[in-house]
Amino acid sequence: MQHCSFLRPTSAAEVIEARNIAKVFPTHEGPVFALQEVGLAVARGEIFGIIGRSGAGKSTLLRILNLLERPTTGEVLLEGRVISHLNESQLRRVRQRIGMIFQHFNLLSSRTVYENVRLPLRIAGGLSSGEEAERIGAALDLVGLTSVARKYPRQLSGGQRQRVGIARALANRPQLLLCDEATSALDPETTQSILSLLRDINRRLNLTIVLITHGMDVIRAIADRVAVLDHGRIVESGTLANVFLNPTHATTRALLAESDANGHESCDAAATGTREQLWRLTYRGATVATPVLTAAAREHGLDVTIVQGSIGRIKDEPYAQLTLSIPGANDQRLQQFCASLARRGAHCERLS
């Protein structure tokens, strides 16, 4: 096991890749298809979010990435090398370089914070006690827990426990960090602090992170790209802004509506008190700072009512999404209006 060619870093852009994954669980009532035709590729330094409802298969998918669960078909590649065919002892070496954090932290209650963070180093072996101490010190420093190194998990708050979990996951300098609903057991404030810690670590170490969650706010706070999992399939994926601003699948829309991120769902005509046809106008980036709407409206001599809207940032990118009603205009003029908006960098679509 000393010569582990599959662990040698490669120039592959993708840190982790899953190709055409299916997972079938045999049960007494016949086979259950937990995952079907799932593929994803995560680039170095990227934060990739997988969102879905409970039972969608996201937990299984995450466990397939470090082969805690073996896929029925398909392959998993770490830094361009197939790892899904490795045997258990080879996989153990691979997993030592993939950190994982959990919803319920899964710390050893019988061990101090220091010993908890030391565990992955003992498991991997090969470090002198001096080097161990250095790594543990660095990891605890990174999560801001140096002062509680001698305490036991019981003496810590939930947020602190998750920080210990993060320090433990990072101690062995992983290539990849997997987050299994890492903030679902925490209160909103603590959730924000853990998410900003993860984002900070992602930036400082250029660490690739794959996280699963059922909350859009988590995705919105830190993900670069997102995949929506529904009934074992990826129904929608893309950059954060794309998925948030132009959700195409019903599940995505529902998840967005629940998190009240943009509130698209409530913008039907009846709810907004108008009888007119509604249009959704979306623009982002530099366009947000320009008067696209008024310029186009003036050009076509139209009056526009904004019945709903949100303007803000998604992952540092400014965006605006407005719901409009445009009374007294015929189809032709509306089409010209839309074309004029498109020229100015805004996307306009009719709401059914």
């Binding site: 030592q96 959990f102 209650s109 565990l119």
Partner: protein, 240 residues
Amino acid sequence: MSDPITATSEHLSSVILALEYWPEIGTGTLDTLVMTGVSLAFTVLIGLPLGVALFLTGWTQRSQRSALARAQFWCYTALSLVVNVLRSVPFLILLILLIPVTRGIVGTSLGVQGSIPPLVIAAAPFFARLVENLLREVDRGVLEACRSMGATTRQTVLWALLPETLPGILAAIIVTAVALVGYSAMSGVIGGGGLGDLAVRYGYQRFNTPVMLVTVTILVLLVQLIQVLGDRLVARFSHR
């Protein structure tokens, strides 16, 4: 023959004054301590690995791969059968049945020495079951965390499972120690000696109630001592 209560008060003073039984009571106490202590050590030495083996082959830890799962199943079934058989035979019968085995192990089936193998063989399966149950109680998440870190089964057991269950294992050792004090009383049948034997011989066979009461009192104190010290030890190692 007077009634037992009068006999008690009459004899109690005479015993304390006469002191003729005290050397025997002293020897008995020592024998009990030796039998309990030595057999407890061997019980833990055998029962702990046995309990871990039961846990690792048990249904909660079955492999996803069918060949390994089958091996686990047969291993568990065999171990479990042996454990169940040994636990279902009454200790008195076990003591007699095991005479040839005992002779083979320690060279004699008599005395304190001769009573240790049967005590261990009776207590180890009991202790192993306690350990098995404790290990099953460990949070599954801890096991998953170990797997995600790439730990071997050996590392998981030594560095995570056993430390996590240490307070429980200490408590199980105390329970087993107290049970051994009780079992050792029966070893008088094979001339094992000890306090229990003394109580039976004097109190039951010779109607010497005071000696019986003194020995029983010492047994009560002994069990009490084990429990109090044990509880303190458990509290010391409990970090939940």
